[in-house]
Every structure is written in C-alpha cells, then in structure tokens.
Amino acid sequence: MENAIEVTNLTKHYGSITAVDGVTFRVARGEFYGLLGPNGAGKTTTIRMLTGLTKPSSGTAKVAGRDCIRETLSVKQRIGVVSEVSNLYNEMSAWDNLMFIGELYGVDRSDRVERAKQLLEAFQLYQRRNDHLARYSKGMKRRVRIAAALLHRPEVLFLDEPTSGLDVQSSRLIRSLVREFNREGVTVFLTTHYIEEADQLCDRVAIVKDGKIVAEGSPEKLKSSLRDEAIVEVAFDRDTPNFESHLRADPSVKEVSRQGEKYQVRAIDCGIAIQEIVRFVMSNRLQILSINTKQPSLEDVFLKHTGLDAVQVEKMELLRTSRAGGQRG
C-alpha cells in the first residue's frame, strides 16, 4: 500500500542552526501518526516543510504521493492544515469562513454548502454559524478551524497542537471527532505536547530531539521497551532529605526523583526496590502515607529519550499552554 507521507533525510538549516537533522519516516494511508518532542525539537519545522510553508535544505518529502517541493500546489490541494493558532477571519461568520475556504480549494458551491452544514453540525456549531468569529470562544474557534481544514475532504490532515490551551469539553470533542475522521480514512499527522493525548490517539509516534528522531513505534511498543524497569511511587509522613542518596546507592535502582510530596523510584526489580524502601522507613522511623507500583507510560519513554525530567516536561506544557492562551484564539 502506498504511504500517505514519505520522508527521507529531510533537513532544514537556519544559518548555522540545524532545526531538522536528516529525519526519515513513513506514515501509512489511514494511519494516526504523532510527533512528540520538547520545544525547539523541530516538530513545527517538519510540519512546515511537509505542508509547503518552508523549503527543506535537503532531503525529500512526499505527501499524498506528491513531491512537496516540485508539486507543492498539488500537495496543498490534498491536505488540510490546522496550525496552533486558529487563523481564520474574525470579521466573518463561521459560515462565511467555510464558504471562503471551500471556494479557495475549488469545492463546488452545492458541495461546500452541504459539507459545511455537516461539519458544523458535527462540531456542534451549526446554531451559531452566522455569528462573527470575534464572538466565539477559543475552543469554538479551534473547532471551526478544524472544520475548515476538513471541508475539501483532504487525504492527510496535519494538526499542530490542536487542543493546546483549550477547555476539557472542546478538547474531548476535538479528539473524538478527529479520531472519527481518521476511522473514515483520513490520515492524521499530529504534533502535541500532551503525551497522554498522543498515547490515546496515535497508532504510532515518533519522539524527536534536537531535530532527530530518537524513537519511533506504537505507544505500546515504546512502553514495552521500558518493561525491564519498575516504577515505585512512595510518600512519607515527613521530609526525608537523605532518601534519594540512600536509594541511589543501591545498584538495582536506576533513578530517584521527587514530584511534589512523592518520590518516584525507577529500578530494575520492583521487589528489591520496595524492600530497600521498607528498610529505609524502618531505620528512619518513618511512616508510609502511600506506596504503589506503576507500568511505564509514554511519558516515561519520552523522558528517557529526551533526557528531560518530569518537572521540565510539566514546565514545557505550562509554557506552551500559556503561549497558546496569549495568542489570538
């Protein structure tokens, strides 16, 4: 089966900085593919090259069977692009925005009227179709933006941080509808900083760091690559400054980190780690408030490959959310 996206050694330099460094990947038709990475990892530059907004320095990229550099207009006709900012016209109604986009993509008048009605109903906006976008909330604007990207029935849908900074209700609706369109055959290429979102939606994800793909596979496959690790979370009744150094001395313990009041211990063997914790509790006359073991998550995979810690990831998510919130909805 022909791939929806084929990228080979794609590279982008900005002066002496290499934003994307020889990435190679394939996305099958109908697949839901996610690109995860910290800020500045090269996710947006990759999307920009695939959607014809930026010319690559070297390498090749094909989308929907067309060359992104030599057949740019043909590629654009076959894709839908939703950028992080809901960039539609606030001075026009949702309906007029969709009609404009439809006309720009050469959709027949009767078809675009029918399709716009169908999409606005699906995104629960049909009743407010004649309101100017200036009167819409951020979540509503994002829904119109996604509807606009789907109006011409694209083969591939590019979503750059589609739920960033949105309320829970809008985020859920968007995720569920995007998944639905994917089931109907639209290939989806997603970048998100919500690792859980990628875990729920994507058939496969790639983790990028410093412009390179450092891991790729289905979320389950990536998580299973950490199966030789056990994670124990424990909270004590009082502050224990020497807990981290004590546990790190044990050769079976890989890492100890503190997240709020809890400690997270990564170890090769869960049983040995718990024994060590209990020994520490006894000798220091502590009380355990809570203790539990957990399976490695996609976030753990992300942390391992990007070299970030959980606090940095949290900061990264907060930063992106506040940036997105500050932008025009």
Binding site: G52, K55, V81, S83, V85, L88, N90, M92, G106
Partner: protein, 257 residues
C-alpha cells in the same frame, strides 16, 4: 514556463482560469474583511482629502490640472492603503499562513489582493472624478481612456501597497513607509505643480514614479487620445507588472522561512 503540450491539452487554460477564480475569491474576502476598517478611512480617504484641501484652498487651480491631480491622488491613497493594511493584518494575525497552506501560489494571492485594492481605488476615483468634473464643469473628450487610466493606475498603486507591506515588519511600519513614499510622489508627480515646471533633477525623479504617468494619462484622456496617452498607459501597466512581481519575491522571502 509555458510549453506547447500544456496549451494543446487545455491545461494552460485551466490553470489561468484557476488563477483568476482564486484571485477573485481572495479579492471578495478582502473586500468583506478590510474595506470597512477604520484605518482604510484614515489612510485611504481622510489623509488625501486633507492634503488636497491644504494645498488647493485659496489657490486658483485650472480644471485641467485639478481633476487629473485629485483623482490620481485619491487612487494612490485608496488603492495602496487597502492592501497595505490587509497584508500587514494578515501577517499579524497569521491568516496569511491560511492562504499559504491553500492550493494557490503566492502570485495568485498577490493578484487577488491587488484586485481588491484596485477595485477600492477605482470606485473611489470614479466617484471623485464624477464630482470634480461636474463641479468644475470640465470637458472630457475621451472618458474611456480616462477610465482606463484610473484602472491601470489603481492596479499599480495597489501592487505598491502590497510590496511595501510585504517588506514591512508590522502594520505601523507599513503605514509609515507607505506615507513616506506617497507624500513626495504627490509633490513631484504633477498633482499640484505641473511636472514641466519642476527643476531638472526633480523632473527626472518624477519620471520614476507611477503617479506622474497616471496624472498625465488622465490629463491626456480629458484632452483626447494621443501618443503620449498610449505611452502613459503602457508605463502604468509595466509598473503594475514590476511591482506585482517584486511583491511576490518579497512575500516569499519574508514568509517562507
């Protein structure tokens, strides 16, 4: 590059039709979104009105000079303001990226925008011309040539507005740069002072601005068809093509990072 195969297969005709249709679609949208912005009223209508009043009140200006000068100035400010503001706003609100991701070339986007800007300039200029001709009871020997002059001039000024806004970082810079270009053009372009009476150096510079050719074309149009009129119209058309091409190059450089 155009090849014979494309012409024979009808592909060229389809491409041209597609280019025109998408241009018209962008122009319609621009008219809806930008024609009624307060900045257009300020930079496109109020400023030329004040400039004209400041320099014409108390002076006896013959109708042969008044009508072409006033109409050309209205066209210059009207046509260039709409698209300068539209391009600057589209870049600022990132709606320009929406156009870039659509299956339309930068040339198509620029063409659509110049259609919207020139339509605004044409309507404004025609209304001004009608009022000025009726009030001054001027004679109009060749109204068709006069209208062609307005159309070509408005297209050239619209492309000028797009080019300046494409190069500018933001809207204030675009407006200031455009005003800095337009005001000197008025003084050396024959709006108030006939070009023939300018100092040789200024006269030479005046021949490098499209406004000079529009004022001259309208003056010739009022007097009747002539060789000079044909030259003026050709130069205006060339200005449009050159400014449009430059706008495409600058927009591509500024936005395709």
């Amino acid at each position: 590059m155009v090849n014979v195969g494309d012409i024979l297969s009808g592909r060229l005709a389809r491409d041209v039709l597609d280019f025109l249709t998408k241009g018209a679609c962008i122009a319609k949208k621009d008219a809806k979104v930008y024609y009624f912005k307060p900045q257009i009223f300020g930079f496109g209508i109020l400023i030329p009105a004040f400039v004209y009043l400041a320099f014409s009140l108390g002076r006896e200006i013959p109708p042969g000079l008044l009508v072409p000068g006033l109409v050309s100035m209205v066209s210059l400010f009207g046509a260039s303001s709409v698209e300068a503001i539209s391009i600057a706003m589209e870049k600022q609100t990132e709606t320009y990226e929406l156009l870039q991701t659509a299956p339309v070339s930068t040339a198509g986007i620029v063409f659509g925008k110049s259609l919207a800007g020139s339509a605004f300039g044409i309507v404004l200029s025609l209304c001004t011309a009608l009022g000025a001709v009726l009030l001054s009871q001027s004679q109009m020997v060749s109204p068709i040539m006069f209208v062609i002059g307005i159309v070509l001039g408005s297209f050239a000024f619209s492309a000028l507005g797009i080019l300046v806004a494409a190069a500018a970082r933001d809207m204030p810079t675009a407006n200031i740069s455009l005003t800095a270009l337009r005001l000197p053009m008025i003084f050396i372009g024959g709006v108030f002072i006939p070009v023939g009476t300018l100092a040789p150096g200024l006269r030479l510079i005046s021949y490098l601005t499209p406004l000079t050719y529009m004022v001259d074309a309208l003056r010739e149009g009022m007097a009747g068809p002539s060789v000079a009129l044909a030259v003026d119209l050709t130069v205006l058309a060339a200005w449009f093509v050159i400014l449009e091409a430059l706008a495409v190059v600058v927009l591509n450089r500024r936005t395709q990072l």
